[in-house]
Structures are given as C-alpha cells and as structure tokens.
Amino acid sequence: MSEHKGEQGRGARSTKRKTSRSVVAARFVVCAVSSAVLAVSGVGWFAHHSLTNGLKTSDALDAVRKRAPKHLDNSVNLLLIGLDSRKDMDGNDLPKEFVQDELHAGSSEIGYYNTNTLILMHIPADGGRATAFSVPRDDYVQTLNGDGSAQGHFKIKEAYSIAYTKEREKLDAEGVKGADLEHRSREAGREATLATVQNFLGVPIDHFAEVNLLGFYDIAKVLQPIQVCLNHPVKDKYSGADFPAGLQELNPRQALAFVRQRHGLDNGDLDRTHRQQAFLSSVTHKLKSQGVWSDLGKLQGLFNTVKKDVVLDSSWDVLDFMQQVPSLTGGKVDFHTLPITGFATRAGEDVNLVDPDKVKEIVQAATGQAPSPSPTPSDGSADARSGGTPSPSPSPSAGQSTAPAGDSSPDPSPSPSASDDNQAGPTVKMGGIPCVD
C-alpha cells in the first residue's frame, strides 16, 4: 500500500516536472516568435524610413484636389512631369561644362520652366494593366493657375512657366530671396500644371513626380547601361543623338539625347514622345530584371538619387506605390499618345490643335471615369485628317515596330477603350525593349 502510494507520488512529481518542462518550452517558443516578429518589423520600419527620409515633397496637389473630378473606384492616376530646366532645385545654374557636354543642352538660360514631358499613368484598382497617356507638350489648351483661374490659351507645357514667372515676380516684390523664392515659385508652377492637365484630361490626379534634366541624368546614371532599340540609325547635332539601328546600350548622356531628340525624326515631337515611352518601358524592364525593387541596397541607391533630384507630392506613400509596382514592371502597361487634330500657328508659335472633349472622352473611358466610347470615323482626329490638315498619326504599319525586342511573351490584347485609331501614334507595349523610330 505504502509502495503504491510512493509510486503515485513519483508519478505526480514526474507529471509535474513534465508539465513544467512543456510550459517552459512553450514560453520559450512564444518569446522567440515574438522577438522575431518585433525584430523583422523593426528592420522593415527602419528600412522604409531610411529610404523615404529626405524625399523632396510638394503640397501642390492640395490646391488642385478641391476641383478634381470624383474617383469612381480605387484606381490611382500618377502624373509624371519632365521639366526642361537646366537649374538645380534651388534655382542655381548647373555647371556650364556639365550642361554643354553631358546634358548637351546649350546653356542654363535655355529651356526655362517648360514641362516637356507630361505622362499620366493610370493604375487600375484591380492591379490589372496600367495605361499611360503622353500629352504632347505643344497641345494648345486653356491653361489654368493653381487656384483654377484661367491663364488663357497657351501650349500645355507653358502653364508651369507662366505661373512660375508670375509668382516669382510677386514674391520678389515682397522681398523673398534665394532658394525660398525658387521653391515657392516652382510650387505655383506645379499647381498650374496639375490644374491644367486635370482640367484637360477630365480625370483626378492623385499623385505626381517632377524631374528635371539633371534628375533624369542622375537616374540614368544609377541605372546605366540602359537598353533601347531603334528602327533606324539617327544623327542629330541639337540633342547629340548619334545611334545606329537596333538594340543598344546607352550611358546617361546618350539616354538624355535619346529622349530629347526631335530634329530629324519624321514626326518630330510625337516621335520624341514615343522615345520617352520606350525609354520608360526599358527602365522599368531593367528595374524588374535586375531585382531593384526587392534589393534594399539597389533601392537605396535609386532613392538617394530620387531624393536629390525628384519632387514627389507629399501624399504619395512610397510603400503604396511599391505595392502597385508589379503592374508597372510586369509588362502590364500600355503607352498611348493623346490625339491632336492638326497643326497651326498661334501668336507666332507652332502649336498642336486638340479636341478637348474627345481627349477627355478617351482618357475617362480608359481610366474607368466614364463609359467606353465607340470610336467612330467622325471623331476629331479623323475629321482633321479628312479635312486635309496634316495628320500627326503615323501609320502603325509604316515601319513602326512596337514589338518589344527580347520579349517572347505573347502580345496582350490592346486596351479596349483607347485603340490606336483615336491615338496619335502607335501604342508602345511595356514589358521589354520596344523598338521605336
């Protein structure tokens, strides 16, 4: 009996010991998991903050949002602004040799504050194909100030410089000087560009990024060599472009010449727009193929350049953008150039004539802001062509290859709402190295 009691006691002690061991083990596991979660989250948080701290941001969108059309879904519209300024962010001239030899851009006095590149990227809410619209810089439109007041009718690229100049004169009279004068004047320019483009396209702009010539050069420097593909050899003394036909790799100086060349191209500015689209496609292809988005070191290098030379809107969450990046880098973007109805001379300047209603219809349909229009032969661009006005739209079959070089994936179906019939120029499909003129 006593032996039995003794066995029971030993059993209870052994169970107790067993239980306490398992509890200790469970505690250890829970603490380890907790520490790991805390450490990983901390590293992610720190990496995010070190990447994004120091980004140059602008509140220009705040002034424009009040008058923005309502979003019908959770899609995002980004406006990329390429500024033709040869100055740094504080308004100082860039070194003369650098502007002449590397940028091949004359002197710091040339270019002023015209927005030579305006590309609206629409990223759908469902993560499907993104659509990008290039707005030809010489489109003759009603330009607006940031407060919505009209500047008049000018080339769309001039909205920035008109507002910049007006604000600069006003601030100068108030005694504002130096970098502050430059920053505040540029902010007025940004607001004017955003207001004008938003009004012209009829869709809300959610975010924007502004880059100048130096910024473009620096980004190309980080990403070099950049592969591009040309249908024909080109040589142009103005931009410094001197390239053979076919697939080739560009350094930053050549990359700038590639996207700036317009002389010697059949369709001038519109061919330049296609160059810019092809360049963006090549860059995003490279970012993806080199794994830049998932490599913190490479991403840090890119962000250091972005911090120096690029202005982003203050509400742009870089992490949200990263979540949308797969649709941009996965060959899921179609580039289009918005149509013009012809050419004309206004106030001694060569301009593109446009049909604002038609442009709105196309963009709104492609971005889910309105029902998709059915393209008819009587649309603005067709009328202009039949009326004898020179058509800016080259035939896609006229040696204009848009097949990405080195991209073996099947060509996806075109965007249903923005066919090439009503676009100026062929669509550039993203997801490889598109060949352009």
């Binding site: 998991v33 805390l38 989250s41 990263m322």
Partner: protein, 170 residues
C-alpha cells in the same frame, strides 16, 4: 501599533498577501486562494476584452484613412497595459511577448479584410513591408508599456515582500 493587512487588488490578484501578524498564514489554501478565485474574473475579462481594443482602434483608423495608425496604437497599448496589470505573475510570461504577434496579426487581418492588401502575388513583399511599417510603432509602444507595468509590479511586490518580512520579524 496597528498593522493593516495588505489588500489584494484587481490590479495584482495573483499576489499572495503577507500574513497578518499573529494571524494564520494566508497560503493558497487560506484567504489568499479565495481572493485569487475572486480575482480570476477580472483576469478572464481582461484577457477576453483586451485583444478587442486594438481591433477597434484599427477599425476606427481604417474608417478615417487607408492604413492603421494612432487608434490602433492606442488600443494596443491600452490592451497590453490592462492585460499586464490584471494577470497573475506567472501569466505575465504569456502577456509580455503578446504585443508583437497580436499587432502583426491585427494589422494583417485588417489589411486583408478591408482589401488594402491581397496577401498574394508579386505585391506580397511590398505588402509585408507595409504591414511591418504600420504595426511596428504600435507593437514597440505596447511592448515598452508592458515592460513598464511588469517593472512597476515587480518593484511593488518586492516592497510588499520587504514590509511583510519586517512585520513578521516585529
């Protein structure tokens, strides 16, 4: 000299009270056990309700914006302090490491339920970074709050122990 019996509060129900001088020892089978049973209800309540606070905070944040923020952080810190104050000392082993996994789980769940994250595909790495960035400040604050509560409880308990020893010797 009158010596008052140290009270067992709901903030520290598991602390075994020091014996009243001259009275019976207040062991697990005595008055302490009875009080511990009485204290089990607040412990259960704390452990059941506390995890809801960060969820409520996160829902409020999502109603106001695209990501979790101050509401979630406040809810998590409150929950952590409440749970760390209510449980018995032995249960602190489970409460102290709780904030990071709870914060991560709530952030992830809210993002997935509200559709700001898909939880799959090529965007998953970026989504995971977003969860970490959103959750880390709250989990760090809650963890610090819990450790402060544990520290305070430890100091109080040690002080009680010392005063009990003095009374026992006296």
């Amino acid at each position: 000299m009158t010596v008052t019996n140290p009270r067992v509060t709901s903030a520290d129900p598991g602390t075994i009270p020091a014996p009243r001088s001259g009275g019976p020892p207040a062991g697990p089978r005595g008055r302490g056990a009875h009080r511990a049973c009485k204290g089990a209800r607040p412990v259960r309540r704390a452990l059941l309700i506390a995890p809801l606070l960060p969820v409520l905070g996160a829902c409020a944040d999502r109603a106001a914006g695209p990501h979790v923020g101050w509401g979630f952080a406040a809810g998590l810190v409150l929950a952590a302090v409440w749970a760390a104050s209510a449980v018995r000392p032995a249960q602190l082993w489970w409460v102290v490491p709780a904030p990071p996994p709870v914060a991560a789980a709530v952030t992830m769940a809210v993002a997935l339920v509200t559709g700001t994250s898909t939880g799959k595909g090529a965007a998953l790495p970026a989504e995971a970074v977003r969860w970490a960035v959103d959750a880390f400040p709250a989990m760090a604050a809650a963890e610090i709050a819990v450790l402060i509560v544990v520290g305070v409880r430890s100091v109080r308990s040690r002080r009680r122990g010392r005063s009990g020893d003095v009374r026992a010797q006296g």
